[in-house]
Structure formats: structure tokens, C-alpha cells
């Protein structure tokens, strides 16, 4: 018996070592494209074309010149600011409106609530491609409200509401005891105060999950922003990358710098919030 368990232990250790090696190899494959971009951003164009895999440029050597040039040509700070404003405001508005909506839907079985919730659930299967032509026709042609950041923000919110409401719905339904709200109501709170002072703070884990999932989606979205924002000074990072590539596609050094600039903000954020993001997505999976 003792021998047996020793044997099993050794077997387990061998399996773990094999798995570890496989994981390292797969991990390298996963980050290989990023490494390639990073080593080439410090080279001149001619060196990139000649030897894309070498660590340092053979002829012209190490250079930092790609970054400042790409930053100016991409209009980086304006573009970054646009992305930031749009992502932050759209995420906050989504959190506020979806949690409130979920609250009123869970606690009342009025016809309007049931109707709204079923419509939201059903709408989750509708892909954006089905809505893009009518949206351009309605808001570009009839109402003429395109080319405003606020239009894009409100559209982002409208699209993400159903999923966010659904997640808050589950959280309120299972985690918030009704007695708590009744106690608050007896103590003289209005419904509005009860929600903000008692219920919303208790929903913090769901709020974190929804915020992470939606913020990533808003930051990276290309199709909707490219249809709404057609002026250069309103571009977000994905649109600017696309436009930049179209203009400078032959200038590989600049392209590398632009790609790094486009990836850097979210990778830095990930470095600090990595644990929360992974946990948020994992717990979002259980709820969804």
C-alpha cells in the first residue's frame, strides 16, 4: 500500500512535469506574435524586412525613433483620450442603468417588467450586423446625430444593457434577501434610497464582473465606432489603428510602433488588475 502510493506520487509528479512543459510551450506560442512585434519596434524598416526574427537590427542597430513618429502620425493622445472617455462613461452608465433595471424587474412582476426582460433576453441572439444598416439609416439619415461621442456612448450602453441586466438579475435574485429591503423600507427609506444604500453596495462583485467585461468590449469595439465616428479627431484606438495601417502599411517600423501603442494601455492595466479580470470573467461564465 505504501509502495503503491509512492508510485502514484511519482507518477503524478512526472505527469505534472510533462504538463508544465506543454504549458510553457503553448504559452510561448501564445505570446510569440507579441514578442515579434516588440523586437521589431526597435529596428529600422530595412532591418525589419531583411531579418524580422533577429533581436537587434543588423545594419542600423537599435532605434527608438519609431515611437515619437507613430505617436504624432496616429494622433495618439487624442485617440487615447477618446477611447478613454467613451469606455469609462459607457461602462459607468451601463452599470447604473442595468442594476436599476434589474432591481425593478426582480422585485415586481408588473407586465412592463416581464415584457422588458423577455425582450432583453430574446435580443441577446441578435448580432450587430442585423442592426447596423437600420442604425446608420435612422441615426445618420433621419436624426443626423452621428459624429458625436455621446451618440456612441449611448449606443454602447443600449447594446450592453440586456446582458448586464441579465447578470444583475441573477445576482439580485439569489444573493439579496428581501428581508433586508423590507427592514430598510420600515426604517423609512424610499425604494430609491433602499436601492442605492442597501442593494447596490451588496452587488459589488457583480458590478466588478460587468464593468470588466463591458469595458473590454467597449475599448476594443471597431465596427460600431467606425460607423458612428467618421471624423479624424473623434477616432478611437481601433479605428485609428485601421486608418493608420491604411496610410502607412509599407512603413513597417511605424506600424510596429502603432500596434504597440494600441496594445500597451490595456496590457498595463492587465498587469495590475490581472487577478480581478480573470476572476471576473470566470465568475461571469458561471452566471451567464
Amino acid at each position: 500500500m505504501i509502495q503503491d502510493s509512492e508510485k502514484a506520487l511519482r507518477r503524478k509528479r512526472i505527469i505534472h512535469t510533462i504538463m508544465f512543459i506543454i504549458l510553457i510551450v503553448v504559452f510561448f506560442c501564445f505570446i510569440f506574435p507579441f514578442i515579434l512585434v516588440v523586437i521589431n519596434v526597435f529596428k529600422e524598416k530595412s532591418d525589419i524586412i531583411r531579418e524580422p526574427l533577429s533581436l537587434i537590427g543588423a545594419k542600423k542597430g537599435f532605434t527608438l525613433a519609431n515611437f515619437p513618429e507613430a505617436m504624432v502620425k496616429m494622433n495618439f493622445w487624442t485617440v487615447f483620450g477618446n477611447s478613454l472617455i467613451i469606455t469609462v462613461s459607457a461602462t459607468i452608465l451601463t452599470l447604473l442603468f442595468s442594476s436599476m433595471t434589474a432591481f425593478v424587474i426582480v422585485r415586481n412582476n408588473w407586465k412592463a417588467c416581464v415584457l422588458l426582460f423577455s425582450a432583453m433576453i430574446a435580443s441577446m441572439v441578435i448580432p450587430f450586423q442585423v442592426l447596423m444598416v437600420p442604425i446608420v439609416s435612422l441615426y445618420g439619415g433621419i436624426f443626423n446625430v452621428m459624429n458625436h461621442r455621446i451618440t456612441l456612448i449611448l449606443m454602447h450602453v443600449g447594446f450592453s444593457l440586456s446582458m448586464a441586466t441579465f447578470m444583475y438579475h441573477g445576482a439580485i435574485h439569489t444573493n439579496i434577501p428581501l428581508e433586508l429591503e423590507e427592514a430598510a423600507l420600515i426604517d423609512g427609506c424610499t425604494r430609491w434610497q433602499t436601492f442605492w444604500k442597501v442593494v447596490f453596495p451588496l452587488l459589488a462583485p457583480t458590478t466588478a464582473t460587468v464593468a470588466i467585461i463591458d469595458a473590454m468590449a467597449f475599448w476594443n469595439d471597431y465596427l460600431l465606432p467606425s460607423l458612428v465616428l467618421r471624423e479624424k479627431n473623434l477616432y478611437t484606438i481601433p479605428i485609428a489603428t485601421q486608418a493608420f495601417y491604411g496610410t502607412y502599411s509599407s512603413d513597417l517600423g511605424l506600424i510596429m510602433a502603432a500596434l504597440i501603442l494600441a496594445m500597451l494601455p490595456i496590457l498595463i492595466l492587465y498587469l495590475f488588475l490581472q487577478r480581478y479580470i480573470v476572476e471576473g470573467v470566470t465568475s461571469g461564465a458561471v452566471k451567464g
Binding site: T101, M132, L252, M263
Partner: protein
Amino acid sequence: MNKNSMSYKTSQFLMFAGVSTVLFCGVVIIPFVYGLYLTFTSWDGVSRSKPFVGFANYAAAFADHDYWVALGRTLIYSAIAVILINIVAFLLAYMVTSGVKGQNFFRAGFFIPNLIGGIVLGYVWQFVFKRAFAALFGVSLLGTTGPNAMIALIIVSVWQYAGYMMLIYVAGFMSVSKSLMEAAQIDGCTTSQATWYVTVPLMRSSFVQCLFLSITRCFMVYDVNLSLTNGEPAGKSIMAAMHVYNQAFTYRNYGTGQAEALILFIVCAIVGVTQVYIGKKGEVAA
């Protein structure tokens, strides 16, 4: 105030859900219905008049050879990509929940591609396939033949989504109680038998969810398609979503484009819902 009165209910509903209702209807419900109307018109994108043409757009969509080729291509691409994504994701999830050293690091690492948008990813990989492949193997994977471009798209999709699906499978693995695994092992199962016969059947909902997510995402692929291949060579890697976009916004056949988008949506919904229905039917209660 009477809590059952209509005015109380209305004011409460509007206070909590008023803005949401307006925004949700404004960007989802109204455009959806309006889109149905657009499929019966021949709007050119500029003029105010939208002449009513009956079913002409649907007839045009069914006669559009390129559209059906693109749709067939999307089906093949989705089938291969979905299978590969889920196999890779499941194996990775198995390995990063087995107690191997540094598993949190690996979980975080495999998720990185999901942080970055499809446009940027496509360009990063375009560089890899064109320059690094040329340096390593002497040939570029892009800009040569249609099947090569499709292989490139599949590789990028697997790379892009495997980490995300892995996290869903990880959640599935963790939701199955350890004691069940131990009980099976006491009864004489090996670790792999216990995983295969006890844990995996209990993770059915994770499979349903991952398949649904990967099917819908692959079906609607656009960003990566645009930046990685842009339909090249000679339109041989244009997926259905890109065809719809071009039909509407490049060739300005808005009505036909919308009709084709609707057909694409119906195909995708049928595949997705059937999959969920079959998956849920045999679900084992834990």
C-alpha cells in the same frame, strides 16, 4: 400613496428602468423592426425616399452567388475553428486546474489575446504570417491562395478565443465538487477515468456555453477578417459578415445587404439554438 395604483407603478418603473427602456428600444428594438422594413425597400443610403420593392431584395439575396459562397465559407471556417477552439480550451483548462506549478500565471497568460481588439490582433498576425513565416519557411501564408488565407484565419481565431473559453471550462472544473472525484477514485477509478466519467458529464453546461459563444462569434467574424486578410486573395477569404458590410456600405445596396444580414442571423440563430437545445436536453443535474 397606494402601492397598487397605476401611477405608482408607472413612476417606479420609469424611475428605475425608464432610461434603460428608451436606450434599449432605441438601439435594438426599433432598428430591428425598422431593418425588417428596409428589406422591402431599395434605399440607396442618401436620398430621403425609400421606394417599396416588395420581395425584390430577398430575390436578389438568393440570387447573389457571392453571398452563398461566403456563407458556405463561413460555415466551413466556423466548424473547424469551433472544434479546435474547444479542444484547445478544454485541454488547457484541464492542465491549469490539475494543480500544476504556476497555474494562475498560465490562466492569466492564455487570456491575453482577448484583451486586444480584433483589428490590432489581425495586423499583428499579418506581420507574423507575412514576414516571420517568410523568414522561417521561405513562404508567406497570406496573399497566396484562398485556403491558406482560411488557415491563417482559423489559426488566429483559435489563438484569440481559446483563452476565453479556457476560463469558462476552468469555472466548470471548479464547480464540480472535489469530493465526487475522490469518491470515484476510492471506487477504483484512475484520475483520467474520474475526469472523463464524472467531471466532464457534470460540466455539460460549460460545453453548451462555450460552443454557443464560439459558434456565434465565429459566424459573425468581421474585425479579424478585415485586418488579417481583408478578403484577399481575390475575395477568396470574404466571410458572410464582411460580404454583408460590403453589400450595404460599399456597393450601397442597403436593402439587399439588410436582407442578407437577416438570412445570416437566422442561419446563425438556428445553429446556435439547436446546439443549446440538444446540449441542455441531456443535462445531468449535479
